[in-house]
Symmetry: D2
Subunit: 433 residues, 4 copies
């Protein structure tokens, strides 16, 4: 039932990351590989050569996988001639036409390999058998003419990975760091243009799995590697997601919370006064109710002495922090120079605050950073490499910044945190809103 095929690839496979990307793609597709032959050369000036056997669940899956690998230069070992079909109308290609990449591409005809002129992405290859020798060219769809002989399928088509732009080590231009070729792959995981329902489902699955692992370790156990850390910024409240995050805490999806004075203040402001920075968060009217609301909340808390005291006094009866207190979820609030007040629970000494955070990261297996820059970077610096980390922010630059600081495992989600947390809560079973 499973299907196999032997493929080969030639070129500067290692230092252009090509081999790695190809093997990665095979595994990502649920297939597996066996390396039959591998010659990496011995220096970076040598060409490499690899022969692989790929095995997939069935013929269809295999064919689809091979087609997607082919664009990276992984070619069938045993090629027959390319198949040709005539276009049956002007501007329309035969079904199954070979769609080009922007790499140099050759087609096998009469046992010989022939390069197609004018490489261009997303075109077809037309073979002209009336020239001597036979010639091939890259043709955009709208310029094909009825009767043109078009390559179909990808048998007998060979993609040549580009020459490395990197100069030899002793030349000046080696300084460029090789950013070029890997660029195409670089950014795909932080783009905002991904199906968001899938991303939500993935994060939901992680939170659910972590909660299950916790449950299995018994009532008392912290459960090594099953804790979920949430780092939350004020935008979680401003965008109306505090109630959803509070629900996540109540349902046991959150093990520990890191935040700053701003998040805590606005969460309490929303809970007590129904506003965030003076703007209504759930009523129909986004009008101002006084810019000083957050100050009054801070002042009241300072009088009460602590958030816990406010809960015990019945003054605070909902919201994220309320649920944390109720559920025994530890909270670390780290101070910053922009804080108003601050709340009595805020650790104003930043070295002590970071130490308090350090004490809480043991056993964390999933970290969810929600619209926080400062505390998210601080947390990223503290976490060991294996922690599954999701950074949710509407601003792509924030996600980039987090990554540039060395948080290798982070998965960037460029989206609206308000709608994201809402959908996350729904995906985890929240009803009625």
């Amino acid at each position: 039932m499973s299907a196999r095929e032997v493929l080969r690839m030639d070129g500067h496979l290692v230092d252009s990351l090509l081999l790695a990307k190809v093997l990665d793609a095979i595994v990502a597709a649920g297939a597996s590989y066996r390396i039959l032959e591998l010659d990496l050369g011995t220096t970076n000036l040598d060409q490499s050569h690899v022969r692989l056997e790929v095995e997939a669940a069935g013929e269809v899956a295999l064919e689809r996988l091979l087609e997607s690998l082919h664009v990276h230069g992984l070619n069938r070992e045993d090629s027959a001639d390319a198949a040709l079909e005539p276009a049956d109308a002007d501007g329309v290609l035969p079904d199954g036409f070979y769609a080009t990449t922007n790499f140099v591409t050759a087609v096998r005809l009469g046992g010989h390999w022939l390069r197609a002129a004018n490489p261009e992405m997303d075109c077809a290859i037309v073979v002209d058998t009336t020239t001597d020798p036979v010639s091939a060219r890259t043709v955009p769809m709208h310029r094909v003419r009825r009767g043109d002989m078009v390559v179909v399928g990808w048998n007998g088509v060979r993609v040549e990975p580009p020459e490395r732009p990197r100069a030899r080590p002793d030349t000046e231009s080696s300084a460029d760091g090789g950013g070029h070729e890997s660029f195409g792959f670089m950014t795909s995981d932080v783009s905002s243009e991904k199906p968001k329902a899938l991303v939500v489902a993935r994060v939901a699955a992680s939170l659910e799995a972590a909660r299950s692992r916790r449950d299995q370790t018994g009532a008392g156990g912290a459960g090594l590697g099953s804790r979920v850390l949430v780092v939350a910024g004020p935008a979680v409240v401003h965008t109306g997601a505090a109630a959803d995050l509070a629900w996540l805490v109540r349902e046991g999806f959150v093990s520990v919370l890191f935040a700053g004075n701003g998040f805590a203040t606005h969460d309490i402001e929303a809970a007590v006064l129904g506003t965030s920075l003076g703007v209504s968060v759930d009523a129909g009217a986004p009008q101002e109710h006084g810019h000083a609301n957050h100050l009054r909340v801070i002042n009241s808390l300072r009088r009460l002495g602590s958030i816990r005291a406010a809960v015990e006094a019945g003054w605070l009866t909902s919201g994220v922090l309320y649920e944390c207190i109720r559920a025994g979820v530890p909270v670390v609030l780290g101070g910053s120079v922009r804080d108003d007040g601050p709340l009595p629970d805020v650790i104003t000494d930043t070295v002590r605050a970071a130490d308090a955070m350090r004490e809480q990261v043991a056993g964390v297996s999933v970290a969810l950073m929600l619209a926080s820059t400062l505390h998210a970077i601080a947390t990223g610096n503290l976490l060991p490499a294996g922690v599954e980390t999701y950074c949710v922010d509407i601003n792509q630059a924030v996600v980039t910044k987090l990554a540039d600081r060395g948080s290798h495992q982070a998965f960037g989600i460029v989206t609206d945190v308000g709608l994201f947390v809402r959908e996350l809560a729904v995906a985890l079973g929240r009803r009625g809103h």
Copy 2:
């Protein structure tokens, strides 16, 4: 039951937009005003002076409104002395403390006005009666000490709008255009940090109202001013929102659709192959299924001759364009230089495409631009000023760009279009996902 109060404001009220902002805020709060006296001076060098009577639904609403107006420099006409209360603990202010702005602020004591030293936002004002004369200073919350006399309420507090930074007309620095003071108001409507459920509700209400107006005009009537125009970019499909937009079309919320080759291709690709740019949009696996999917879709359409023909042939059975064809919603697809193919329905001549769009804008009362830059700007250029326009994009710069091009009525919504359209459909009654 309604409550009134007379207020006054002095300063450069007109050219600093202060009067306008204040009147705007009164109306936005559901209150009304009567101008009792207005002296704008006659030249831009004169100070202005205004006396207003404000009327609100009740004492509470009035007090809340007046407090929010006060921060802009609209003071009570008849001031008593400021009320003072002692702080009862270090670092804690009396309830009802007056929260400062960053403007110069004076307090009335013993019938005299006294400026508070060191203006700073979000602080309190402490009066020292032991000095001679009596003095007032701005104090951050944590530095108040037990027994300090703190101003409470805003009676007897007067905010002085800042001097205009603008120089006289004959000096060089008049060139700056006065960007300074209006800055605080400028960006508040395009921030991503707003409660998103409210924004969704507002757009939903607009779409519903327009549909109702259409229904009332009878079966055949287009209904002047009741049409809803949607401009959609490819990210609508990439982020998984095509099914929700299709539902909006099916339910009659959309009267006309503008898009490009990209949106149409990916919508059809998603409908026929379940992918968008080769990425699965609804299954669990965001892996590649071949980069050429969109080309195959375009090629098939070119063979079929048109999207309508594809629907009639039973080849296309779902998606946004399918629903448009079914519901008789006109679609204008404008070409661009980056198009693959293009689809046979695309108007490749851009002047003709814009003319086709022009024919469809009559009667449009609501325009919804979804993650589109090129077609949104083109549409914004065509619409008359009265059209209620919502620009939804995750990228704030796109929204800014749209505004800079002169689309005065646009309301910018910085959010994830995928989640936004999904929530919009839910708000309008979509169930079951």
Copy 3:
């Protein structure tokens, strides 16, 4: 030599901000106005009416100004009929054609006002005298035909400001806050698409003026209102601008510096090791020299005891902080939870750090925030309203965030901080790089 004209405007002038915008534009253009008549009505339901006399430096300047005001609905009081000229070729308008706005527009013909059909921006108005009655329509340039009678100039053209979209106070939709109409003006000052040489020149002029004022106050005096505050983030160093900022300090353009551990560490790292976060900042090779450079720098400073001690020991001999120490420019380094180390000079208690900043803001007249979010927001919260503030950041969302927090005087500059500071130093006289 100066020229005058009487204009009038009708509509909801105040609560739509129209009057304010118009008066603002007059002053910004270096002209002046006299209000001859003003009737604002008494409530927000009344129409307003204003008559203004505008005076400019000459006929050309006046005409240009009036033309730009006209698009906002400020019309000549005494209108003659509109002037018409025939188009002399298909698709080409007569010189001087009237260019439309997207507002409803009327033209005066035979003493009567006639609305042009199909309002659309950036078009011409064509009058058809063969219809009965005479008709006018809005025509895009490419659709004008030879012989069409086209309105030229703007005499006899009347722009009608749009009806306010705001509902009456007692209806639900009044909640929207009127974001609509002000949108066109909102974002223009934070766009990245402005001539940058002008912006640089403006900031340079401010710094120069402040330095001159300081010089005039004599050797010892701090000079009330002449101090320049710089708030700097790490990107100043990463982008290679530290040497330029150091030059600004050395030349006396900076009076006080606020920053965090990151900026200070990277400035010292660049000065001592020539790298920033391990990346070379001035050599030809942006390759890594070890990620731990900043840690070694911090550790050395901790051993030395303070930045001043490092300067005195001859260990630190260049850079921004070195120049500050040398020039006696006070520096406040506020701690944050993400800090490595931190440096011994960092005030780790954030409440104490903010208090230290408070002590330094007296006398500040210009604030320059360079690629800093946290410290810029903290500083914005402390500054009184009159301080001229420039926020330089490549990320528009950061500038928006700063504004949303209430820093009303901020002028946002969306640009590359590295290139900006470099150009600023050149504009202020730096040579040789």
Copy 4:
């Protein structure tokens, strides 16, 4: 004089891209490698193992390189025990302390490998010899105490690359595509926080090299692979860089220009009227001079018949397009639906416009995209894979979008295009501004 060392690495080297990254870094540093032994296993479930000999220019360079490789898990083959030194003061580490990564790390003591507890980035490792067995822990700088034994250097330190988070192919979570680990590398090339002078120098060197190659091919020859393509958006003019780009054309650095109606119109508007979208681009005053300037320019050009005719008539005497006409640099102006006018030279049929662009891409070796989205993506789709491409935009999302569309060779530069082009002209020899 050159220095060598044998290293080894174990783990999932291929599918985690680790081997590729390490080899890449070696070559980027100007060093070379020889693979002595390589065992990739045969399936993706096997561990890999590699032995490399690395050769660098000298001992210092080698040591620095090895240290930077070590953080990725490339360890010395022959390890002695780790060296330890006592801390000589609280909160201060010995010079040369080993700075940790966030990976699991072991130290060799008494011939045995010992894992350090609590892996955390940017810390030190302290060994406690008083415990039995001896223990090691990760300690942040501020928590080290005088006398603590700290690991110095990286001999005897082994970094263990993290376990792959990827599940086996037959489990559901294999769907995630492996975004995790490559994240740290993904975004580093598009960050805005890079030394900009270096980036400018690099692009300048490319343009200079291409011009030299052109010069060497003789007077008449187009010179295969020596042409420089510039794609320019309107922001080039708005930000004041048109004069600099015009200079680049005049000096022979540009071989072909792609743009749209907007860029061309604003370039001509700036040349003829000194404004861009009505805003002055070089005078001191950024005030409005009439929104219709660009329409008048378009209309004049339509009357003149073409840009070439306008140059020949002496109507257009400066600017980018003027210089292109003068220098015989081909220009392709592609139409779009948002165009006003358009200019007579604009190819309004987008399929024909793309074909005209296709004809010009042969021989292009360097492409410089300046603040253009639409035309940059269109061009990226047409270019073969080997072309060195620089995308300059202030908006990181635009650069990402370009990359997501498959333009693999693109090097993203997030900066202000106005300042960038100015600096580029200066770097290539422009004087006098």
